[in-house]
Symmetry: C2
Subunit: 243 residues, 2 copies
DNA sequence: GAGTGGTCTAGACCACTCA
DNA sequence: GAGTGGTCTAGACCACTCA
């Protein structure tokens, strides 16, 4: 195993990328807004436009920025439908996701257990908010999920705030708490439905469910959400492209 | 829905990319071998090195080519371990894949049903080869899978050829039949084990299994393999990064 | 030291958007 | 028509590999 320390030599465009990321983290440029033009940025940083382009291109490939020819470069936003769907990989076997509806089942404050604390890089016992909800795709309830986030990052998060933002958690994190989700790691397993999930999803105990366990990250690969989703895949599937 | 026709304007580097892909398809540059240097290619195509670089970069991002600074640019190969593992997304919950072993269960000629024919873009009734095998990761048998490929593309494929290449199907497709897999689409579901899969994986009927249904593509997004894998995810998981 | 890919620049021009 | 990102060029130099 190699150490993950940064190599000594870092090209100029990587340094520019770090500077851009810092601006994004600081909230100077907010989701949905345009960042300065390439020519402007090149002047600010005293580098050529080509060097800025390389930095911006990498951030665009990581879905942190969105380029639009003739208009400008924008900070990616979960308010945008397209970005949302990148994180929802479940769809009906026969077609796309037309409507998405969430029913809140629980929203309460808990203490982080050792495992959650380790994954969220906080101390054991720190307060978390735990949300449980059921999701319906095109009117059919197929997902039961639980999300846990550090309470500190989401002050005032309660059922009322959730109500206002309906189903889109990442859009809410972004607009109400300035926490921008930029990446996630998922692990999938097949499990048997327990009593709780069977009841909520209208299945029999023991029915096979697709379990998705996710760690979601904000800028700088800082973990900010743990999620466990259970999906009835009788008429739905998880799609993935490999190349 | 927009039509998927190619837009009228295609930049030069895209045209170069098409030319490079044609050379790869023709077998002029084989997996594992280097392609000509950027300067050489630029001269051949009468464009600047920068334009060649852009075309090569896209193919490298698609894992069709592999760049190695100071050495050259190589055609990606499934003989390379790293490329193999890109297509095997299952790993043990506690660690990596150290050994992989395949037991062949069946290898026979069948006729394509309507569904398979549609997905492989051939005529119904055309001959297919159907392989069934069990995979063991680090000595534990966890996957039972079936692969179907057009017999025409794999002349002489039989148990003996399979034996020689052990578990790595894509490596065999590539080296024995010059069929290079470059991408795949997967759909995942949770299902209950039937009698056959339960017997092979040493489980009880009804146990939850992760089902992966895959269409694999060669150059030009031509579909060349259908695969259905059933995985016991009691101590293993399917990993996916989202960004 | 020769050859490879990787970075950086400066400048020209193109495609696209919007007022 | 002004401003944006997108393409393309030519050239300089750097990091890396290998004989």
């Amino acid at each position: 195993m190699k150490s993950s320390s940064t190599p000594a030599y870092q090209p100029l465009y990587r340094q520019i990328k770090v500077l851009l990321t810092e601006r994004l983290e600081s909230g100077e440029w907010k989701p949905g807004e345009p960042i300065p033009s390439e020519i402007d940025l090149a002047q600010r940083f005293s580098v050529s436009q080509g060097t800025v382009r390389k930095a911006v291109n990498e951030l665009a490939h990581e879905n942190v920025l969105v380029r639009r020819q003739g208009r400008g470069t924008f900070v990616a936003s979960h308010a945008n439908e397209h970005t949302q769907l990148g994180f929802l990989r479940i769809s009906p076997d026969d077609g796309g996701v037309d409507t998405l509806q969430a029913d809140l089942i629980e929203c309460r404050r808990i203490k982080a257990d050792a495992s959650a604390a380790r994954q969220l890089e906080i101390e054991t016992g720190q307060p978390l908010m735990r949300l449980r909800r059921a999701l319906a795709i095109n009117g059919r309830r197929v997902i039961y999920e639980e999300a846990r986030v550090p309470a500190e990052l989401f002050p005032g998060l309660d059922a009322f705030v959730l109500e206002q933002h309906r189903c889109m958690l990442y859009s809410m994190y972004e607009s109400a708490f300035s926490v921008k989700i930029v990446a996630a790691e998922e692990r999938l397993k097949a499990v048997a439905a327990d009593e709780e999930s069977a009841t909520i999803l209208g299945l029999t105990v023991g029915a096979p469910l697709l379990m998705m366990v996710r760690v979601a990250y904000t800028y700088g690969r800082k973990p900010v959400e743990l999620r466990r989703s259970l999906c009835n895949t009788a008429a739905h599937h998880y799609a993935n492209d490999i190349s």
